[in-house]
């Protein structure tokens, strides 16, 4: 479904990603893990179109999308749950969800999408008239995910979803993502919380200083000695 072939990218003189290849098949949940500064966020910026790759290819459902602007990437069926949620705080929950369905193709299926989001996160239905900024942290997380689902995506990108959350909130967050996962959505999750994300993903890539260090099935990756020592903390 999504394939990156030998992608190199960076900012100015600085190269953050070297020769990264990665694949997400339809129906899979794939995790990208690694320490701070490993290039995880750069990777997502390339996929979502915020940053153009310097070399290499980005192919989604057979179409080359490398270097296309973000709004076109979304139109091709890739939704983004950005780091820090990036909700529109002054807009109501209803308007935030509406903006998730901004594209004409998404508008056509608005009622159906909304029903699916409410089935996943019933609390959002009760908060429709409330401003997004007044929601609790957990509700905001649901809204950010719900907003991404409103675009009727075939692939969802999660950018460091647990960043800045208290430990108890992290567990709840992964419950939310698991619920979305159970609906059959294909997802790519970039995450620092290695232990949690490996429990959820089918496959994973470990990124270190801009290169893919190892890749494999999530459960096997979690058992590798150096991964456990360095990242899982067991």
């Amino acid at each position: 479904m999504l394939e990156l072939r030998a992608v190199t990218a960076g900012y100015g003189q600085f190269t953050a990603l070297w020769d990264v290849s990665l694949r997400v098949a339809a129906g899979e949940a794939v995790a990208v893990v690694g320490p701070n500064g490993a290039g995880k966020t750069t990777l997502l910026r390339v996929i979502s179109g915020v940053l153009a790759p310097r070399a290499g290819e980005l192919v989604f459902e057979g179409r080359p999308l490398g270097g296309r602007p973000p709004h076109e990437i979304v139109a091709h069926g890739i939704a983004h749950v950005p780091e820090g949620r990036r909700l529109f705080p002054g807009l109501t929950v209803a308007d935030n969800l509406k903006m998730g369905a901004f594209l004409p193709a998404a508008r056509a299926g608005f009622d159906d999408s909304l029903a699916r989001v409410f089935a996943l996160f019933p609390i959002l239905a009760e908060r429709l008239r409330q401003r997004a900024g007044s929601l609790s942290g957990g509700e905001q997380q649901m809204l950010a995910i719900g907003r991404a689902l409103m675009s009727r995506p075939r692939l969802i990108l999660f950018d460091e979803p647990s960043m800045g959350l208290a430990p108890v909130m992290v567990l709840r967050l992964f419950d939310l993502i698991r619920r979305v996962r159970e609906e059959g959505y294909t997802m790519l999750i970039v995450e620092q919380n290695v232990r949690q994300v490996l429990k959820l993903a089918d496959r994973a890539y470990l990124l270190e200083v801009g290169r893919v260090r190892i890749e494999g099935r999530a459960d096997q990756l979690g058992e590798q000695e150096f991964v456990r020592k360095a990242y899982v903390g067991l």
């Binding site: 709004h71 705080p89 901004f102």
Partner: protein
């Protein structure tokens, strides 16, 4: 102060009349302030040139109606169309090339355009004051005299503002405009082309300038320095309401128009402006974020 007391005691009707006139003026000022604020909210740029675009549209209405004999409503529509075009043109020709520059450069660029337009207007049409000759009556309501032109302008301004409200809250594009004003980057992740949102916003802002031009041309004469007469008060309203805050701008319009109108009757028009500006400066110290800003 004794003037005010005197007036309340001996001629309350005159004071009421001033209050009504202030309300009517506030409607058109609010239209101007909302247009400017809409653009600022989305693009983070203050179009210093805004009221001069209004002036250009006023000249068009004047020439079409007074010189070429078009019916007023048609001339007014042409004014709105020109305002819309000018809004898009300013965005594409002046703002787009320097969108990544520091805000102060963008401010100076629209400021430069202001002087260009002023000089061009003086060159083409001289400094004559030109007005559409209309025989609109003055109507009497309960002993107060109210200009019919002002009343019409107020009603139309309110209708257009209701339309703007519906556009911004009910439509996808309008909601996207509000969303972009909160987070530019996130709206692109929703699939909206930011450049398209900017153009639509500038067009709507320009259209509001055109509407204001049509409504002002039935009350005031147009001249090359029209922008200098209405520009400062418009910016003051926007800052007082909190830049980018539409509700704040709406309220601030009526506060300032009442001060100017009532001050004008009690003392003199100049004194009305002096009080308005003095209040503005004081409020900037007390509430620098605008009247509706929450205290940090």
């Amino acid at each position: 102060m004794s003037n005010l007391v005197d007036l309340v005691a001996h001629n309350p009707l005159l004071l009421m009349e001033a209050a009504v006139n202030g309300l009517l003026l506030g409607g058109v000022l609010a239209l101007l302030a909302l247009g400017l604020n809409l653009i600022f909210g989305v693009l983070d740029i203050v179009w210093i040139v805004y009221v001069d675009l209004v002036m250009l549209a006023m000249y068009l209405v004047y020439f079409l109606v007074q010189v070429y004999g078009w019916p007023l409503w048609l001339g007014a529509l042409a004014g709105v169309a020109l305002g819309t075009l000018l809004g898009v043109a300013v965005h594409l020709l002046i703002i787009t090339p320097i969108l990544a520059s520091p805000p102060v450069n963008q401010l100076l660029a629209t400021g430069g355009l202001l002087f260009f337009i002023q000089s061009l207007a003086t060159f083409l049409w001289t400094t004559d004051h030109r007005s559409i000759r209309l025989s609109l009556p003055t109507i009497e309501i309960g002993g107060m005299f109210v200009s019919f032109a002002r009343l019409i302008a107020f009603v139309l301004a309110v209708l257009v503002m209701i339309g703007l409200y519906v556009f911004l809250t009910r439509t996808y594009v309008g909601t996207a405009i509000r969303a972009v004003s909160q987070d530019r980057g996130a709206m692109a992740l929703m699939g909206a082309d930011p450049q398209r949102i900017y153009v639509v916003t500038s067009a709507v802002g320009g259209a509001l300038a055109g509407v204001a031009a049509a409504l002002l041309s039935i009350q005031y004469s147009v001249h090359p320095h029209f922008g200098a007469a209405f520009g400062p008060i418009t910016f003051m309203i926007c800052v007082l309401g909190g830049l980018g805050n539409m509700v704040g701008a709406f309220i601030a319009s009526f506060i300032l128009s009442e001060i100017i109108s009532i001050g004008g009757v009690v003392w003199s028009t100049e004194m009305g402006y002096v009080i308005a500006f003095a209040l503005f400066i004081v409020l900037m110290f007390v509430r620098p974020g605008g009247i509706l800003a929450r205290r940090q």
